[in-house]
């Protein structure tokens, strides 16, 4: 059995899915981010002044790109895998000799592709508002790749447990969005009181946003080693959980 063909098939299907509905998947993030740039960057940002030694618009660009990557990686896998469960076409894979890791990798890969593509679109949109600096392209690539993988895995686990379409919007609304907004996208956590700085360190998105910002601006509230260690820990943990759930057939097999 050629697993690479199976992996390519799942990946192709996933990419075809979000490209087919590009108006729903690729355009809204560009519009939302444009609004963030106009409101927080141009209108309010000009009154805020500098943050971390950079004008406010330049400071928030990496965080906004990362926010789009996180949201889109997560929601792509959550909605696609849940739809496959709901329409029962997930059975196409379950009856075939596709190893569980290939199913996980295929869906996560699809989520990463959408997350990264949206990240690129948002980056292009941001060029209309600000000159983007590049401090270390490899840090940028590594952070965006690992972060999209982390949230794609999270979306997959959400979809495995979900019993209705409501269940795939609860986590993004009540957990993901607050964590992102409190993850240092719009501010440096060094501005917070000491207690809240400590609390913020429990938020994994802080590490992702800061590592990503380091790639662009060369500044970070956390050490890069810690940031990559935290992201890697989440990837390994979430991948293991996803594999166990699919192997046991939770939410998939009766």
């Amino acid at each position: 059995m050629n697993n690479s063909i199976a992996l390519k098939s799942i990946l192709t299907k996933e990419i075809q899915r979000f490209m087919r509905i590009w108006v729903q998947t690729l355009v809204p993030p560009a519009i939302t981010i444009s609004l963030y740039f106009v409101i927080f960057g141009s209108l309010i940002g000009s009154r805020i002044g500098e943050m971390g030694g950079f004008d406010y618009m330049s400071f928030i660009v990496p965080g906004l790109i990362m926010m789009s990557v996180i949201t889109n990686s997560y929601s792509n896998v959550a909605s696609s895998f849940f739809s496959a469960k709901w329409q029962r076409n997930v059975e196409e894979m379950l009856v075939a000799p596709v190893p569980n890791w290939v199913i996980v990798a295929g869906y996560v890969g699809g989520g990463m592709c959408r997350g990264i593509l949206v990240g690129l679109i948002v980056t292009l949109v941001s060029l209309l508002f600000v000159d983007i600096q590049l401090h270390n392209i490899w840090i940028i690539i590594a952070t965006v790749t690992l972060t999209s993988a982390t949230f794609a895995l999270g979306g997959l686990i959400n979809a495995i447990f979900a019993g209705s379409f409501d269940d795939i919007s609860i986590i993004p609304t009540f957990i993901l969005t607050p964590l992102t907004y409190l993850g240092g996208v719009f501010y440096s956590i060094s501005l917070l009181p000491e207690f809240w700085q400590g609390v913020s360190q429990a938020n994994p998105i802080v590490y992702m946003v800061n590592a990503f910002r380091y790639g662009f601006l060369g500044i970070s509230d956390v050490s890069l080693v810690t940031a990559f260690a935290v992201i890697s820990f989440f990837i390994v943990t979430l991948f293991t959980i996803a594999m166990v759930l699919i192997s046991k057939g939770i939410g998939l097999r009766s």
Binding site: M1, N2, N3, I5, A6, K8, S9, I10, T12, K13, Q16, R17, R20, S83, A84, Q87, R88, N89, E91, E92, M93, L94, V95, A96, P97, V98, P99, G249, R253, S254
Partner: protein, 328 residues
Amino acid sequence: MTYALEISALAKTYKGGFQALKGIDLTVSQGDFFALLGPNGAGKSTSIGVITSLVNKTGGQVKVFGYDIDTDLEKAKSFIGLVPQEFNFSQFEPLINILVNQAGYYGVSKTVAIERAEKYLRQLELWDKRDEPARSLSGGMKRRLMIARALMHEPKMLILDEPTAGVDIELRRSMWDFLRELNQQGITIILTTHYLEEAEMLCRNIAIIDGGEIVEDTSMKKLLAQLDTETFVFDIKAGKSINELEQFAEQSSTIAYRVVDDHTLEVDLNKSQNLNQAFEQLIAANIEVLSMRNKSNRLEALFVSLINNKPSKAKAKAKQASAAVGAN
């Protein structure tokens, strides 16, 4: 010779405690055209679910072409093509993508998959629809799409769970021809259906499942030979009154006739009787038969009798046990 399918002591109890399969044993030979019949909730779909790994079994063993699904699941899966009861493809994808992706899950390269997709879409008269989303298809077309999808990796065994449900007669017959052709090519076919005529016309061997137990497992010929009585309906030429016909029916001591109306008679023939005897009596009574047909499907009569009358395996075991206790 290795069986295409070998099931032993297969059990499934769902979380709520419902025992869908109570330790069934079943074998299907390679190249067979096999019917698995049973009323709703008998355990047919659960059995198919376990074989195809969509349902986790709670006991027993399943081997597909000698490969145990507990130890060689991926190998076992590679032999099976499944046509499920419910439409389970993405409604939004074009047909060609559904087929090519499905082949990919089995490791079939894209070039080969496209060739096969064309072959099966043409054979099943769906080629013109290849670029349309699946939701635009009619019910019959969707059924054919699922058959094409199941064949994309050229399986050695095809399992069809009610493949002709909701399909019109003409299309059903063309699907029968297609399935016969596949079987002649050497593909083992396992079929569940509610159309018993379908099973009788297509299948060589049959198992009947009821209440999670196999109540009959034999060849179609042997099963039909169990039929004691067959009912025929005679359409007769007008001219005899109902009273005259009833008098004729009462006078016949050897054959049981029933008068339906003044131009219809029903006759029950058991194994020791034949139609010639009935015709001799009808000719002697000057009753002209214009046409004749079977009242009901023969298999249907047997099916109903087996489901209603056959003691379950559990009951039979209990009976044997109590007899043994009595003997001691």
